[in-house]
C-alpha cells in the first residue's frame, strides 16, 4: 500500500522510457549524447568504484589462491600458486584452522542475530514512543542519537574502561552498589566477553534503527490511526495492524543493513579486546585479521575473506529474493 513511497530502484525512474526528449531525436550525435550522457555522468563514480572496490576484490581473490607468508609477501606477484589449498585448509573443520574459523563463524552468527534483533527492537520501540509530541521530545531524540554520532573508537574505548574488572563502572554498579553479583565479574576476558561485546554493539547500533524507523513513521498517514481509533482499536492493535505493516519496506532495508554492518564489524571487538579476542567473542572479522596480519598468512586470510563474501552475498541474495517476492504479492 505505502510501498510506493520507498524509492526501491531510483535509477529505474530517472532513466524510464518516454522522456520528452525522445521526440526530438533522429540525428545520431544527438541521440548518442542523450543516451550517453547519463553514463558519462556515472563514469567518475564507476571508475572510483572500480578502483576502490573491484580491483582490490579481484586482487584479494587472486591472493586467496597463493601462498603468501613472510617468505613471499614482499613480491606477492611471484608468490607460488597453491590451487585451492587455502580454501581446503579454511573449510577443513576437523583441523585446527578450519575448526577455529567455524567456531568464530558460529559465534558471529549468534552475535549478529542477537545484536540486530535487539537494535531493531529497541530502535522501533523508542521511535514509536517518540511518535506523539510531548515536552522534551526534541531533546530526548537528540540524546538518543549520541551513540550514533560519537566516534566509534572513543566510544568503544570508554566502554572498555567501564568494563574493567578492578576499577570499571560496570562492576562498581553491579557489585558494589546493587550487589547483583557475588564478586566482581570479568567482562573483557572469559565467557562474559560475549555479553560485553553485545552490549556495546547494541548501544552503538540501535540509534540507527531508531533514526530509520522514525523516518518511516513520518510516512504513515495520521488518518489511518484516527480511523482505527474510531473503529475501537487500542494502542497495541494500532501498532500491530498499522505501524508494523507500514514499516515493512523500511524494516527490510534496515535489517539488511544492520545485518551486514554487524556481521562485518571489526572496530568494536578490536578496540574492546585488542588483536587477540577471547574465544567467546572471537568474531569472524577479527579472526580473519588475525590470520592475515598477526599470523602472517595472507593467502589463507584472503581465502577466508572470499568465503565470508560468498556467504554474505548468498544471505543477501536469498533475503532480497524472499522479501521482494513478499512485497510483490502484498502489492497485488
Amino acid at each position: 500500500m505505502t510501498t510506493t513511497t520507498v524509492p526501491a530502484r531510483p535509477g529505474a525512474r530517472e532513466t524510464g522510457p518516454g522522456t520528452p526528449g525522445a521526440a526530438r531525436g533522429g540525428r545520431l550525435p544527438g541521440r548518442l549524447r542523450r543516451i550517453g550522457l547519463p553514463y558519462l555522468l556515472l563514469l567518475p563514480a564507476l571508475l572510483l568504484e572500480l578502483l576502490v572496490h573491484l580491483v582490490p576484490m579481484v586482487i584479494g581473490i587472486v591472493m586467496s589462491f597463493k601462498e603468501l607468508t613472510q617468505f613471499t609477501l614482499r613480491d606477492w606477484g611471484t608468490a607460488p600458486w597453491t590451487g585451492g589449498d587455502n580454501y581446503r585448509v579454511s573449510l577443513d573443520f576437523d583441523a585446527p584452522v578450519g575448526e577455529a574459523l567455524l567456531h568464530s563463524f558460529l559465534v558471529t552468527c549468534v552475535f549478529t542475530v542477537l545484536s540486530v534483533g535487539l537494535c531493531w527492537l529497541i530502535g522501533t520501540a523508542a521511535a514509536i514512543c517518540m511518535q506523539d509530541a510531548f515536552r522534551g521530545r526534541g531533546l530526548l531524540r537528540a540524546l538518543f542519537l549520541v551513540p550514533y554520532a560519537l566516534p566509534v573508537y572513543a566510544a568503544v574505548i570508554t566502554w572498555a574502561f567501564m568494563f574493567q574488572h578492578d576499577n570499571g563502572l560496570v562492576n562498581h554498579v553491579l557489585y558494589d552498589q546493587l550487589g547483583l553479583t557475588d564478586k566482581p565479574s570479568f567482562w573483557l576476558i572469559g565467557d562474559n566477553s560475549f555479553i560485553a561485546l553485545l552490549v556495546v554493539s547494541v548501544w552503538k547500533g540501535w540509534p540507527f534503527a531508531f533514526l530509520i524507523v522514525m523516518a518511516g513513521l513520518q510516512n504513515i498517514p495520521r488518518e489511518l490511526y484516527e480511523a482505527a481509533a474510531l473503529d475501537g482499536a487500542g494502542t497495541w492493535q494500532q501498532i500491530r495492524r498499522i505501524t508494523l505493516p507500514s514499516l515493512r519496506p523500511v524494516n527490510q532495508v534496515l535489517v539488511l543493513v544492520l545485518f551486514l554492518w554487524t556481521f562485518n564489524d571489526f572496530n568494536t571487538p578490536y578496540v574492546l579486546f585488542g588483536k587477540a579476542a577471547p574465544e567467546a567473542a572471537d568474531l569472524v572479522s577479527i579472526h580473519i585479521y588475525q590470520s592475515s596480519f598477526v599470523t602472517w598468512d595472507f593467502g589463507t586470510g584472503s581465502a577466508m575473506s572470499v568465503l565470508l563474501l560468498l556467504f554474505l552475498l548468498l544471505v543477501t541474495g536469498v533475503y532480497l529474493f524472499l522479501t521482494s517476492r513478499g512485497r510483490k504479492t502484498a502489492d497485488v
Binding site: 580491483v55 614482499r74 574488572h165 576476558i189 592475515s292 596480519f293 598477526v294
Partner: protein, 439 residues
C-alpha cells in the same frame, strides 16, 4: 605501473581485513623512501613515556646529524601497537622509510621477508665493525648463520623491581633470589587485604612470551626444536607456563584483575603501592613518570631456581631491545648507513640510552660510568651473563601470538577460579602449536 601496483597491494591488504583501518596500518605511503640523497625517513619506535617525549629526545640528535652530514632526517615516532603492521604494509608496498626501528624479537621474522638490508661484513665495516657490539645483543638480530637483518640500538633486560617500604612493612629484608623466596615474600604481602605480591600483564601477549620463555629456559625447555620447529608441549614448556600462571592460580600472589591487564596497568599498581613487585624491563623512567622517586623502589636480578643467575637453567631474562634496520630499497643507502653509524656511535649511544634508561649494546658506551648506577648495573650484568635471546626463527611472530594467547586464556581461567592443571596447560599449548604454520 610500479606505483599503481604498490597502491593496489596497499589497498587490498587493508580491505582484506574488512575494516582494518582501526589497526592503524593506514598510511602505506606515509613515509616514502627518500628521493633526494640529502634526506632520509626514519621510523622510530615509541621508547619514552609518549610520542612527544621521543621527539624531544631524538630531534636534537637528528639536528646534530644534519649539521655533520648535511642529511636531513624526517622523523616519525610510531606507537608500538602500530609498528609491526606499518612495517608489514611498507614491506608489501615497497613504500617504506629508509631507516627504521624494529623490536629485536621480530628480527628473524622480518629477515624472512627479504625487505631489510642484510648486515654483511662490508656493511658492518661501514659502521665501525661487528666487534663493537655486545654478543648477546647480536644474538637477536636474525637467524643464526645468516647476515643479521638489523643492528642493536637499545638493549634492555628483565629485573625484579620491588617496593622498599612494602618489603620493610612485611618484614622482608632481602629481595628474593629464588622463586620459592619470591612466592613466600609475595604471600606475606598478599595477606594484607587489597595488597598483592606481584604484578602481571595477563592480556599482553608479548609480555607473556617473555616471561614463559625465561621460565622455559629454567626448566630446560625451548619453545622450538633445534631445526626451528614449534615444540610447545614438551614437559619443560608445560611446566614453565604452569609455573607462571600458578603465581595467580595457586600461589595467589598476583591479583586476579591482572588477567586483563595489557596497558602496563601493573606498573601503575606498583607505583600506587598496590603491588610490591614487578618483573619488568628497564622500568625506572616509567616509575618516575608515575610519580615514584628513585629511592622508593629497589631492583634485583629476576629469580632463578638456584638463586644465582647464569646461563642455561639459570637464565633470568630474555635479551630485550630495539634494533635498527635499513630498508633494502632505500634510494639513499650511503646516507642510511651513515645515519646508522651515527646512532650507534659511542657518543650517541650514551646520550640516547641514558635518556631512555636502557643499556647501550655498544661495548665502549656500555663501559661508561653513566651506566654503573645500582639499577642499571643489574640490567647490564643480566645482559652480559644471564640473558638469552628469544628463538631466532621466522615464525617468532606467530609464536608470540599463539603461545601468548594460550597464556592469556589460562590467566582468564585462573581469574575466573577455574582450575589450571598440567592437562589444561598442555591442551592449550597443543592447540597453540596446531595453529603454527605447518612447514
Amino acid at each position: 605501473m610500479r606505483s599503481i601496483r604498490a597502491a593496489a597491494v596497499g589497498a587490498v591488504t587493508l580491505s582484506l581485513a574488512l575494516a582494518a583501518s582501526a589497526c592503524g596500518g593506514g598510511s602505506a605511503t606515509g613515509g616514502g623512501a627518500g628521493d633526494s640523497p640529502k634526506t632520509l625517513t626514519y621510523w622510530a619506535s615509541n621508547q619514552g613515556a609518549g610520542v612527544e617525549v621521543d621527539k624531544k629526545v631524538l630531534q636534537p640528535e637528528l639536528d646534530k646529524f644534519e649539521k655533520e652530514t648535511g642529511i636531513k632526517v624526517k622523523l616519525e615516532v610510531v606507537p608500538w601497537p602500530d609498528l609491526l603492521n606499518r612495517i608489514l604494509t611498507a614491506t608489501t608496498s615497497g613504500q617504506g622509510p629508509d631507516v627504521l626501528n624494529i623490536g629485536n624479537t621480530w628480527s628473524a621474522s622480518l629477515q624472512a621477508t627479504g625487505a631489510l638490508l642484510p648486515w654483511d661484513e662490508k656493511n658492518f665495516d661501514a659502521i665501525g665493525g661487528r666487534d663493537r657490539f655486545v654478543e648477546s645483543a647480536l644474538g637477536s638480530t636474525g637467524v643464526a648463520g645468516e647476515d643479521p637483518a638489523a643492528v642493536p640500538l637499545y638493549s634492555m633486560a628483565y629485573a625484579l623491581y620491588y617496593n622498599k617500604k612494602m618489603f620493610a612493612d612485611a618484614g622482608i629484608g632481602e629481595p628474593p633470589a629464588t622463586w620459592d623466596e619470591l612466592v613466600e615474600a609475595g604471600r606475606k604481602i598478599s595477606k594484607d587485604g587489597g595488597k598483592w605480591g606481584l604484578g602481571a600483564e595477563g592480556s599482553n601477549l608479548s609480555n607473556n612470551i617473555h616471561q614463559v620463555f625465561v621460565l622455559g629456559k629454567q626448566h630446560g625447555a625451548d619453545f622450538f626444536t633445534a631445526d626451528g620447529k614449534a615444540d610447545f608441549t614438551s614437559d619443560g614448556a608445560v611446566a614453565a607456563v604452569k609455573q607462571y600462571v600458578d603465581l595467580m592460580a595457586e600461589d595467589e600472589i598476583v591479583a586476579p584483575g591482572n588477567a586483563e591487564y595489557a596497558q602496563n596497568q601493573s606498573l601503575s599498581d606498583f607505583a600506587n603501592g598496590k603491588t610490591a613487585m614487578v618483573l619488568w624491563q628497564t622500568a625506572s623512567a616509567t616509575f618516575k613518570s608515575l610519580g615514584m622517586t628513585d629511592d622508593e623502589w629497589g631492583v634485583a636480578p629476576a629469580p632463578v631456581p638456584s638463586g644465582t643467575p647464569g646461563t642455561g637453567k639459570a637464565t633470568n631474562s630474555m635479551v630485550a631491545g630495539i634494533n635498527m634496520a635499513v630498508f633494502k630499497n632505500t634510494r639513499n643507502l650511503d646516507g642510511a648507513t651513515a645515519f646508522v653509524k651515527f646512532m650507534t656511535s659511542d657518543a650517541e649511544q650514551k646520550i640516547l640510552n641514558q635518556a631512555y634508561g636502557s643499556i647501550p649494546p655498544v661495548k665502549a658506551a656500555q663501559a661508561d660510568p653513566a651506566f654503573g648506577s645500582p639499577s642499571t648495573a643489574v640490567l647490564r650484568e643480566t645482559l652480559a651473563t644471564s640473558a638469552a635471546a628469544l628463538p631466532q626463527v621466522p615464525d617468532e611472530s606467530q609464536f608470540e601470538t599463539a603461545v601468548g594467547t594460550a597464556v592469556k586464556e589460562l590467566f582468564a581461567d585462573a581469574a575466573a577460579g577455574r582450575a589450571v592443571t598440567t592437562e589444561s596447560v598442555r591442551a592449550r599449548l597443543a592447540k597453540a602449536q596446531q595453529q603454527m604454520p605447518a612447514k
